[in-house]
């Protein structure tokens, strides 16, 4: 049997991996040694890494002959891609590079985890019957160009929106950790050249809220589009399978975060802890459920 070749995408993956290592080192260097040129280099490297990550997805699309969002490995790359885009927006809006060490650090960890996936996740598998859900109108549009296999459906949309949500939560996770560190320094009036260069605790709180305000609706759309797909494939929009339930659990945690912010006594630190717990739940949702618990989801 002829396995579709995945050489090109693996090559881009290897390159991207190296770029992320360099990017994170530059951001850390910029933070610790306070060298401006290191920061500029870090930002440039982030763009390079983003380009390389985009190329993983594009080449993957060519290799598999369909939209590249259908297994754990592909969704991992999508996650890193969205996280990088999100970070660049954050950096552009705030004009601060300190957060890169933390947020891009999360992206690097994600790249490391993706590289450790067993080979069967990296190779291109044909879609099983339940995963073949494409929007007919898109097929019709793409048909004249011979691209009908690249039409996406509820499933791809579901994966795509969910992972944008995850990326936003990952940013909030990085920022909340920074908030917790900064806040404890501010409260005790402690000083440290490393921590002083963080943005103020209030600002970190606000920024991590803004990230969650993006992630929450995207995860919501992800859950709903998953339900629409389940309704089409299995005749039930909700069946409490472990993956569905875990996505609901994380959604509950972030709903709690949003309400913590309007509750006296829960603002600030406790809310930040919820943002951290929420992201840990996502990591479990992402990896734990796929490998530990039984369920219907063939991909992440």
């Amino acid at each position: 049997m002829d396995q579709p070749k995945v050489i090109l995408s693996l090559m881009f993956f290897t390159m991207a991996f190296a770029f992320y290592v360099v990017t994170v080192l530059c951001y850390i260097g910029n933070w610790v040694f306070k060298k401006k040129w290191l920061g500029q280099l870090a930002t440039t490297m982030t763009y390079v890494a983003l380009f390389s990550t985009s190329m993983i997805l594009v080449s993957r699309g060519f290799e598999s002959g369909r939209a590249p969002f259908s297994n754990l490995y592909e969704s991992m790359v999508l996650f890193v891609w969205a996280l990088t885009v999100g970070y660049l927006i954050l950096e552009y809006k705030t004009k601060m590079r300190i957060m890169g060490a933390f947020v891009m650090g999360v992206a690097l960890v994600a790249m490391i985890s993706a590289s450790m996936l067993p080979y069967r996740f990296k190779s291109v598998e044909p879609l099983n019957p339940a995963l073949q859900n494409k929007w007919n109108f898109l097929k019709d549009i793409l048909e004249p160009f011979g691209l009908q296999n690249y039409a996406i459906g509820w499933l791809d949309f579901h994966v795509f929106t969910t992972f944008i949500g995850y990326a936003a939560f990952a940013i909030a996770f990085g920022l909340s950790i920074m908030y917790l560190i900064k806040d404890s320094y501010e409260k005790k009036d402690k000083r440290s050249t490393l921590i002083d260069s963080f943005p103020g605790a209030d600002m970190l709180d606000e920024l991590s809220y803004r990230s969650i305000a993006v992630g929450f609706p995207f995860l919501g759309i992800g859950i709903v589009s998953g339900a629409v797909w389940a309704n089409a494939a299995w005749g039930q929009y909700w069946s409490w399978d472990p993956k569905e339930t875990w996505s609901l659990i994380t959604w509950f945690i972030y709903a709690a975060y949003l309400h913590a912010r309007v509750t006296r006594g829960w603002r600030g630190r406790k809310a930040a802890y919820l943002a951290v717990v929420g992201f840990i739940a996502i990591i479990f949702l992402y990896w734990g459920v796929s490998f530990v618990l039984p369920g219907l989801h063939a991909y992440a």
């Binding site: 044909p126 339900a227 709690a256």
Partner: protein
Amino acid sequence: MPMNTNNDSTQARPLKSRKGIFSKIWGVLASVKLTLFVLLLLAIVSIIGTVIEQNKELQFYYMTYGQGWGDFIIKLGLTDMYHALWFTAILGLIVVNIVVCTIERFPSKWRNLLGDKTNFKVDIIDKLSRSDNFELAGVPSSNKDGLLRVLKKKKYKHLIREEGTGFALHAWRGVIGRFGSDFTHVSLLVILLGAIIGSFWGYKDFRVVLVGDTMQVPNAEFELRLDNFWMEYYDSGQIKQYNSDLIILEDGKEVGKKHIWVNEPLYYKGIRFYQSSWGKAWNRLSGAEVILKTADGKFSDPIEINWMETKPIPTTGYSIKLVAYVSDFAFDTETKTVFSKSGETNNPAANFEIYKDGKVVFATWLLFNHPELVQSMPDASEGVLLLNGIRGILYSGISINKDPGTNIVWLGCLIMGLGCYFSFFVFHRRLWVRIEEVEGKTLVTLGGMINKNDLLFDKEFNLLVKTLKEDGSKSFAEVK
């Protein structure tokens, strides 16, 4: 950066000031602390159902967890946790929480925001986190146009009031952002309503239909005939798709048809039909092939017989009819009946009747795996019949689902989307401005607030101050 939590109009009355047991309970039910508690509780207990497999046979739980834990799990309803009474009760609690919370906060929020528009007070400027005052060139009225122009460009609505020599102004935009949370909360009620309707007025069922057969649809006035079932494969041999051709029949007449596959159900009169499984029929064949081995060891040509068809056995004067089939032959010695031990094709056997002059003279079961086991001709000296081959028939497993709540759930999701959009991307911004003439000078006092996203508002506020200053000097130049 100043924090601007600004939930002035959405705080419920504090619990401590509440007297009387009813008022206290009401206070608890209206509190966001309860929401936090219930949301986290839901998150934690939901985990249980992902660790303990749901809806298995009771046996499974005893075998996996032992007698003691098994009992515990079954008593607490953890075998179907998400439908257990206590889980439903937690959901009920959040519903009550939402309703009470909304009753408590919504009217005052509404009044406040409306009141803002009809009767504004500029004195609050001093209390705002964002405020400024400075001197302008020109007279108050000459500054008015520039101010209004900026506000219009920034899509603010405004009210203006003449005050002595000058004027007071209140401007706002994005009020709907304050109601985003209400949309979201109501949407949850709508989704739950849809789920409840589905569970009371909907049903789920499953039917197996053989190719060519017609099935009665439960609780409905129509039938479905399966005209064809087939599978598609990838080059690698993996299954790509299952397909069924369904014909809708009403009073025996064909009124529609649909090719369904996994992901593409048939929807007719509120009922959905899904391709959900398939298999080989265990009690039907499309046909079989038999061979007669005569007493002297000669084999006849194969005889092809379709289901329920009669064919002559050459040179014998008998004819043979295929009347029954089991895929896994077994014999019940008590009732003396043949049945299929399983759905697998482990031990296929076909039942034939043998006719002479149009009358049944003999009946026999031929086992594919065990030829020559039984006497198969009316007289043993006439030889034995061998089952040489069978042509199986496929069935299509069709899930039937009626859920009149589905569209209400989708409606709820839509409202939730709107609610999230309003909450997270529409910001309520308010500005108060007073321009007055004091001892020949034009003084501006202005202040503003936003319900969230201070970063955005900082920029906008500074822009406004800058424009006012520049505009003022321009009009000053004109006066000169």
